[in-house]
Symmetry: C2
Subunit: 279 residues, 2 copies
């Protein structure tokens, strides 16, 4: 018997993967959770039917959601991660030598527990790392209660439906502003420019209305819809395009380099056009 | 009834698209040909079961296989396209004001005829353009018989199986060298760095052994495997990273800009590593 998992990335487009086995399938209080073992991408975390991360291509997403912000801030000592329960983002953050403490706030305990059990490569920093703090809590509330605390905040959310809907709102970006120190910055994953143009346009406009510096950058993640993924940065002081940096303090990357960092902000014309405010 | 077309991009990974209708399906002397109308990507050309081009994302591939070479050569007057029967590459080439004549050599007459009939947006330059010459011929033979003729040659092939197998060989790249003028250059589509690492490694080594300047660059094409696509350039004289150009003579692009041109050569570390010769 051949088993195939199909994610409908849109109502009329899917990605389909042959699977070796199903490791866990359950309904958590927040979402439907599955971890499956695929032929093409190794182990895969699927939430509400949508691929979140896989053994084979997770390095792209996790390096690009972390290193761009870490290497934009000159001294990112305190880092907050909202979401990111699989631990890949935390694993990258604690690689950076400037980071004294990284706090991850994930709402769904089962994502953390099952990632530790079934995704050891990705989740390695979720336990036993002295610079990593893992909290099971609502990131929206946590941010409200921790003002002027962080150099860098990373919003590693699921799609803007279900538990992550509030993580794409102007109110949340204002609360993030308050939670950052006076020279802080944040990075959020903001979906595909091919399939989520309206979301990107709205998010970019909202962040631009709050932060002096707002920039979007791109990376190629094969298992995400269209393969082209966007991240949006709001920054109080530092411009990610002026890092003036030739080397990276984290050397064991597979995607990120300082040249890739700079290139990621050189947007295709159709993406540039999403960011121009409508009159 | 719902109809879905699935391309198995690898034995264990597929892309699946809901279709409105099947416009044509036939076996040509060279390959299986289909043009279908999809919900997500509009009309789609499928050869031997593999997506070649679609209305929605063809601009990325066609701009990036043409403009990078056109804007690297200071005066690309004579351009040869091998393959490219849908006409999209030819359409882009004749937009460039320096081009006096563009010759397209496609082996399969039915690709040209059906693209003219069913893909009008893509195929517009295939008929009635005074600077475009469309020949139905074997590109490998054509190159052998036309030496020292071209400023730019573009190899717009299908995957390296079936009719295109010979278009990925060292012998062919040597014949291309002879067909170029003394300061000529060529660009070939060279598959996905995620799924075709061995091919890219071999092609890059072969071209490097023949051409003084060999460079690989990337673009994001949603309907191609992994969404990240590579192109390899062999050049006798001009370096595509030293174009020193702020503006582009073709203004109606949707992906390409001179900044995107430069950024496309800043390769993720795992791609850079494919290009280092094995000892």
């Amino acid at each position: 018997m051949e088993l195939w998992f199909t994610e409908k990335q849109t109502p009329s487009l899917g990605i389909t993967c042959k699977i070796k086995s199903t490791l866990i399938v359950e309904q958590t209080p927040y979402q439907h959770l599955a971890i499956i073992d695929t032929e093409q991408f190794g182990k895969m975390l699927v939430l509400d039917g949508m691929v979140q991360t896989t053994d084979v291509d997770e390095f792209v997403y996790h390096e690009m959601i972390t290193m761009v912000g870490l290497n934009t801030h000159p001294n990112p000592r305190r880092v907050l991660i909202i979401g990111g329960g699989d631990g890949g983002t935390l694993r990258e953050v604690v690689k950076h030598p400037a980071v004294e403490k990284a706090t991850m706030v994930e709402i769904d305990r089962r994502v953390v527990e099952t990632s530790i059990e079934f995704l050891p490569k990705i989740s390695s920093a979720l336990h036993g790392n002295p610079r990593a703090e893992v909290l099971i809590d609502d990131g929206i509330e946590y941010v409200k209660n921790n003002k002027n605390q962080f150099d860098l905040i990373i919003i590693d959310s699921t799609e803007p439906v279900g538990p992550a809907a509030g993580l794409f709102s102007a109110e949340f970006y204002r609360n993030i502003f308050e939670s950052l120190k006076e020279d802080g910055l944040f990075v959020a994953q903001t979906e595909s420019p091919f399939f989520n143009a309206d979301l990107i346009r709205q998010v970019f406009a909202d962040i631009s209305s709050i932060y002096p510096i707002t920039k979007l950058y791109l990376a190629s993640v094969p298992t995400y819809p269209s393969g082209l993924w966007s991240f949006t940065m709001g920054s109080k002081k530092y411009d990610p395009e002026n890092i003036g940096q030739e080397t990276c303090p984290v050397s064991d990357t597979r995607y990120y380099t300082p040249a890739v960092h700079q290139a990621a902000f050189k947007l295709p014309k159709f993406v540039q056009e999403l960011l121009i405010p409508k009159k």
